[in-house]
Subunit: 223 residues, 2 copies
């Protein structure tokens, strides 16, 4: 790869990675424009550029896919993002809903030795504060099996490993209910009418949550 990537290029690669991981193999121009808060025209320009650098595969009107070098770069940026999030939460006492914007900046710091030292300092964490896996130094991600709480039957028990929505009002609500990553959640009752459910948290407090919220809570199922 030789040539170091610009901040913008890194952000495009990251967006392509996330979009192709959550749906279609080929990432289309409009989706990318929306996720990056820019115009389809700008996306198109960048697709040509990344394609010329062999970071993505791109055919006119057919969307983009990450090539090995591009995927590797994306994963390295994601690794840095998630390591910094762990730092911010564990060492600087940020809440898990406050760290994303700052990590978006820190992820672009270029220094392999810094990443290595940070990783050591944090004790080689494997998941970030949102429960997402941290790619290792070779870009290998250990995917976790997750399901939204909304899709599990009554009686299910599991660990909250991810909140698939960054909306601060949601995250703050969960904080108020004392629901956090690592919480043990049991579905005690399920309303078929609207999909709302009753859950117990860590075997003590009990709350009612809407189907919309349940959809955002990804659970690793126990038993």
């Amino acid at each position: 790869m030789i040539h170091s990537l610009s901040l913008t290029e890194e952000n495009y690669l990251k967006a392509i990675y996330h979009l192709s991981n959550s749906g279609n193999e080929n990432v289309n121009t409009n989706a990318l424009a929306e996720s990056m808060n820019t115009t389809p025209a700008s996306v198109n320009d960048m697709m040509k550029k990344l394609s010329n650098k062999s970071l993505i595969g791109y055919k006119k009107y057919k969307g983009a896919t990450l090539l090995p070098d591009g995927k590797n770069s994306a994963l390295h940026v994601i690794r840095k993002h998630r390591l910094w999030e762990v730092f911010l939460v564990q060492k600087l006492n940020f809440k898990w809903d406050e760290v994303h914007e700052i990590a978006e900046q820190l992820e672009h710091i270029k220094s392999p030795i810094l990443v290595k030292r940070l990783d050591e300092f944090l004790g080689h964490p494997t998941i970030d504060p949102h429960g997402d896996p941290i790619p290792d130094e070779n870009g290998i991600v250990k995917e976790v099996v997750k399901a939204p709480l909304s899709e599990l039957p009554q009686g299910s028990v599991g660990i909250l490993v991810n909140v698939s929505n960054d909306d601060p009002s949601l995250l703050q609500h969960l904080d108020k209910l004392e629901i956090s990553l690592g919480s043990k959640i049991r579905i005690t009752e399920r309303m078929d009418f609207d999909g709302s459910i009753s859950i117990s948290i860590d075997d003590h407090s009990t709350h009612f949550i809407s189907n919309e919220i349940a959809k955002c809570l990804l659970i690793t199922i126990l038993d």
Copy 2:
């Protein structure tokens, strides 16, 4: 000022600050070009821009001076730079000569709350690993005095910030005495006869060193 500064603008302001602190009040185009590794023409363009934003005072052929807003911005960037250097050395075990390049990147992260939390995490340090003062949150700098240990009176206390000699036998000797950069050194006794002195290191071990060695040890004076 409202409008947030670009990375480049911040670097120019920082360079003007450093140059006007080490010599002439008015910083001239060529000096700035040299210190920023760019051309006088580029500097000239930026001077117009910063001048239009009332960050610097600038008259044709007369050089630049920082105006209050510009100085404040420069000091805030320098504060971040030095706080990150402390972090890198104290928490991530970098050597003091390895941190500059990384801090040059970290200093541009924009998040007031991050600076506040980092400062707390580090215990509100007042000098960086090179012995330079860290401006406070209002941009106030407590200037420090650096002097060779050989020139200080009995009773002086300070931090070792530089060793002005590369001779391996000196460095090995210092290693053996467990004197390293950042060590707190107190002059407990001074021999007028040959200029040799007795020092305590980090308030425990005590050693005798010659005037020749003392000349090589540059100290930031505390109190």
